[in-house]
């Protein structure tokens, strides 16, 4: 169709198409600062991990993330360093980063994306959003599709089962657990569990030993990033009155899988559900 004579027109046409294409979609972010371990993981899952120019401490997955330069930690961010890096996208973690730091970054006119998923569906939404921002829509769409399918499968298989009372022991000294408005709380209910401190207002309340004893949890989940599981489980050995202790339903799970809002959380959810289900079996066996 394209004749030799028409070639200039053809080129013009192609150039026009290209121009329209570029102006139709947002320019994709090339220099990203990810201020949380979970956003780093999501970016790597989208295949754009190499565009991260800086992050905070504790971003340790995947292996390559450990090489990214650090610009602060949970107690503060070096804003001047961020400015010097000239990022075109900053992914902030509402609730995880210092609010005053985020305000400052926002006031400096940087392109800020807030991330704070509270359940698996919101993680999937966030993956899609970050896909748009980084120009990796296709990868994001496929990943989202895969994750929501896995998530639905897990959720459906536990939704009809009996509710199990769960105590999530975030930390042992002081005894700290999770409240109702919380990512982990949503995971627990996805597994057909019921967080015994669901009604607590604080996201991570410190609770008394007595209130745990009285709530009689049927399973105790201990994330193992707080080291030394045997030592913490020993805390309960004096209390065989608690169903979970009596039935030996105390589980140590990978805290990084469970507590990070990433594609890996599906694996964490699967392990959590398995533990809760095991506790469920131990209860029915008795009856």
């Amino acid at each position: 169709m394209f004749h030799y004579k028409n070639k200039p027109y053809g080129l013009l046409f192609l150039a026009l198409v290209y121009c329209f294409n570029v102006s139709a979609k947002e320019p994709s972010a090339q220099r990203i600062i990810a201020l949380s371990p979970h956003s780093v993981e999501i970016l790597f899952a989208l295949g754009v991990g190499d565009r991260i120019v800086a992050t905070l401490e504790y971003a340790d997955y995947p292996q390559a993330a450990k090489k990214i330069p650090r610009v602060g930690n949970f107690s503060g961010i070096k804003i001047e360093k961020i400015l010097a890096l000239k990022p075109d996208l900053v992914i902030a973690w509402k609730g995880g980063n210092k609010a005053s730091d985020l305000e400052k970054i926002e006031s400096l006119g940087m392109n800020l994306f807030y991330s704070h998923p509270k359940n698996v569906n919101q993680v999937i939404e966030e993956i899609l959003a970050l896909g748009r921002l980084t120009g990796t829509q296709n990868v994001a769409r496929n990943l989202a599709k895969k994750l929501s399918k896995q998530y639905r499968t897990i959720k459906n298989s536990y939704s009809d089962k009996s509710k199990i009372k769960v105590f999530y022991q975030l930390w042992h000294k002081p005894l700290r657990t999770i409240g109702g408005d919380n990512w982990l709380n949503s995971l627990i209910s996805d597994c057909g569990g019921k967080n015994i401190f669901e009604k607590a207002k604080a996201p991570y309340p410190a609770v008394s030993f007595e209130s745990v004893v009285m709530a009689m949890p049927e399973v105790i989940i201990i994330p193992d990033n707080s080291k030394n599981f045997t030592h913490k489980a020993k805390l309960w050995s004096a209390w065989p009155e608690i169903t979970a202790v009596n039935k030996d339903q105390i589980f140590s799970l990978d805290g990084d899988l469970l507590q990070r809002f990433t594609p890996r959380a599906i694996e964490g959810l699967r392990q959590l559900c398995k533990s809760i289900d095991q506790a469920r079996d131990s209860l029915t066996n008795r009856q």
Partner: protein
């Protein structure tokens, strides 16, 4: 006959008896309150029928009709906790009293002299870096407390005689060691940092019977020492010159009292963390009640300090539903308010 007895029992004794009853009432009330509703009658039943001295929980003695779970909650959770609160109140109050007396400074308390900061730093260092080495927190706190006293004495130099210098060096040491504690906090992981922060604000939640013996022993010894030297301390309150003219070795007395106080504070800090304001406030309240003689103040401080701490503990575990507040927050909040009211009413009466 009866009038003779009444004349022997002076107002001071009546006040002591009243304080004792207040303490007993506070103890029983605190024992019955908690996440589990246990009524006062049940508490009386427990105390009269269920406590057996050999074994508190595993076997119910004859006549005990309380559910075993409740017995266990009282014996293993509430009683150790209450006794730890009691001991803390006593220890910090008498230390505050003695420090105020020997320095003749109304602001003196274990915090002002950097003893608490030193003990905190020692304990925090052990918790953050040496937890795996199996080093005990108590040892860390003791070393830290001793170190702070040592630093303070070096800073005060040969002019230890001058009370002002002693107080000022104490303040300097306190800030310096506090800065190191913050530094440790800053460099620890979020989990450890949150754990350390909560500990620094004070907590009785990890109380066990075994953990009570050391503070009880140290406080008992400290109290005896204070009681033995009460008249000397009294004389010291009147001024160094008066004390020296009475033949009291002023420097030695001051130094040894300081060391006893730092031992008590360090042991308490190791067990319960940093709890401020009690050591400052209780002696002043006692002074308003029974005058400024150390021999009278000592017993009053024991009773009121203990009772105050029981109430603080009660508030900290019942103010928020399903949550525990750090003790230090409650002590400072309740304490300062209470203190403010007392100061205000006292001024009006004059």
């Amino acid at each position: 006959m009866s009038s003779a007895i009444v004349s022997v029992i002076n107002p001071y004794h009546w006040k002591l008896v009243a304080a004792l009853f207040f303490l007993i009432f506070s103890f029983l009330f605190a024992l019955s309150a908690g996440d589990v509703d246990i009524s006062m009658t049940q508490i009386f039943h427990y105390l009269s029928h269920c406590v057996s001295l050999q074994d508190g929980a595993t076997s119910s003695p004859m006549g005990c009709e309380m559910a075993p779970l409740y017995q266990k909650i009282i014996w293993q959770i509430r009683l150790p906790r209450l006794f730890l609160a009691l001991l803390t109140g006593i220890g910090l109050s008498i230390c505050g009293l003695i420090l105020q007396a020997i320095t003749r400074n109304p602001l003196a308390d274990p915090y002002l002299f950097g003893i608490s900061s030193g003990a905190s730093l020692g304990a925090v260092l052990v918790m953050a870096f040496l937890a795996s080495a199996g080093l005990s927190i108590t040892l860390g706190a003791l070393v830290g407390g001793a170190f702070s006293v040592f630093l303070m004495l070096i800073l005060a130099g040969r002019s230890m005689l001058l009370v002002e210098r002693l107080v000022l060096s104490g303040v300097a040491v306190s800030f310096m060691l506090g800065a190191f504690t913050s530094l440790v906090l800053y460099f620890s992981t979020p989990e450890v940092a949150s754990s350390l922060l909560f500990w620094m604000m004070g907590s009785f939640s990890n109380a066990t019977w075994q953990a009570l013996s050391l503070p009880a022993l140290v406080i008992l010894i400290g109290f005896c020492i204070f009681f033995i030297y009460r008249h000397w301390i009294n004389a010291l309150q009147a001024g160094d010159d008066t004390a020296i003219s009475l033949g009291i070795p002023v420097d030695t007395l001051r130094l040894s009292m300081l060391l006893v106080c730092s031992a008590i504070t360090a042991v308490l800090v190791a067990k319960v963390g940093g709890i401020g304001f009690v050591g400052l406030m209780i002696p002043h309240i006692c002074r308003m009640l029974v005058g400024s003689q150390v021999n009278k103040l000592l017993l009053m401080c024991v009773l009121l300090g203990a009772a105050f701490m029981l109430w603080v503990d009660l508030i900290s575990r019942s103010l928020l539903a399903q949550q525990v507040l750090p003790i230090g927050i409650v002590t400072s909040a309740v304490g300062s308010l209470f203190f403010f009211i007392i100061l205000k009413t006292k001024r009006l009466r004059r």
